[in-house]
């Protein structure tokens, strides 16, 4: 199955990169765009056939390596079975 993990900075954690991009967008005239925050998209394939088993492993991978739980949150979706 194909998995898509989205990693975001936690709410309330300042995102200087997002802020810089926000400012650049405003300079370009995109004044209606606000609160830009930048995260990461991680994509991978898994050999598991069983969805529940895969979800368990994805959770573990996210907590152990793919995110730093002190500053980041994650969500994921299984895009192809």
């Amino acid at each position: 199955m194909k998995v898509l993990v989205k990693v975001r900075l936690k709410n309330g954690i300042l995102d200087p990169q997002g802020k810089a991009v926000n400012n650049a967008l405003h300079h370009l005239g995109f004044h209606t765009i606000q609160d830009v925050r930048i995260g990461k998209l991680i994509e991978f394939n898994m050999a598991e056939k069983n969805r529940a088993e895969a979800e368990k492993k994805i959770e573990q991978a996210c907590k152990k390596l793919l995110t730093n739980p002190i500053i980041e949150d994650y969500t994921y979706e299984i895009t192809e079975e």
């Binding site: 200087p16 990169q17 390596l65 730093n68 002190i70 500053i71």
Partner: protein, 228 residues
């Protein structure tokens, strides 16, 4: 004192650290390859600066799971001295040996310059020869040195006297203008609760000879060997 400097793929301050330790702390300094499993013969271990594993994913995130790190974690938990500088500090926070996390510098720029840091009210193996409020001139060189910890964590650091260094002026004053990366509460370095693990963004190993502008970093290595 037998001291080991861990070498990860992408470490680039390992030789500077080796040189500084030899100069200040004596001859018994060795490199430890990241795939080694045994460090029990060492009395202290140093994680040097650099870009271990290319800083991929997050700085220090992959190095934290290299074979040597499970040994370093045991070593630290047994109370033996572990120093992490720059990328070494990032690896220590990723591995959970030190609280908090290091994020992208607030102004998004890689900062490479001399700064001043002030010894705070904090006792550790690495700072025992420093006076309270002593100011050191040491260089920084990092893009992700913006220390973050939540408010409860910050309170614990303060209450337990775990803040080793804060960025400051030449006179030891605190201020946003002296904080090069946006670190919370001007934090430049912290220790663990036991006081045997120090992580700091500034590079004491680059400040051991006047020829290079400062020898203020020596006192950290002198402190390390002072208990022998």
């Amino acid at each position: 004192m037998k001291i080991g400097v861990v070498v990860f793929p992408g470490s680039n301050c390992d030789h500077d650290m080796y040189y500084a330790l030899k100069l200040v702390a004596g001859d018994d300094v060795h490199f430890i390859w990241h795939q080694d499993h045994s460090i029990h013969t060492y009395q202290a271990v140093v994680l040097p600066g650099g870009f271990s594993y290319g800083d991929y994913l997050r700085a220090g995130a992959i190095a934290r799971f290299s074979p040597i790190m499970s040994e370093v974690i045991k070593f630290a938990k047994s109370g033996k001295p572990v120093l992490g500088v720059c990328n070494g500090f990032q690896i220590l926070t990723e591995s959970g040996l030190l609280p908090g996390a290091l994020r992208r510098n607030q102004n998004l720029r890689f900062q490479c310059k001399h700064v001043y840091i002030r010894k705070e009210n904090c006792e550790s193996i690495f700072t025992r020869k420093l006076q309270k409020n002593q100011v050191l001139s040491v260089p920084i060189a990092h893009g992700e040195g913006n220390y973050f910890i939540d408010q409860d964590g910050l309170k614990r650091l303060i209450d337990n006297q775990q803040i080793a260094f804060r960025y400051c002026s030449a006179n030891g004053d605190l201020g946003e203008e002296f904080n090069p990366n946006g670190s919370i509460d001007h934090i430049a370095g912290i220790i663990n609760e036991k006081g045997n693990v120090l992580g700091m963004m500034p590079h004491p190993e680059r400040a051991v000879e006047l020829l290079l502008g400062s020898q203020d970093g020596r006192i950290i290595f002198e402190s390390l060997i002072a208990g022998e």
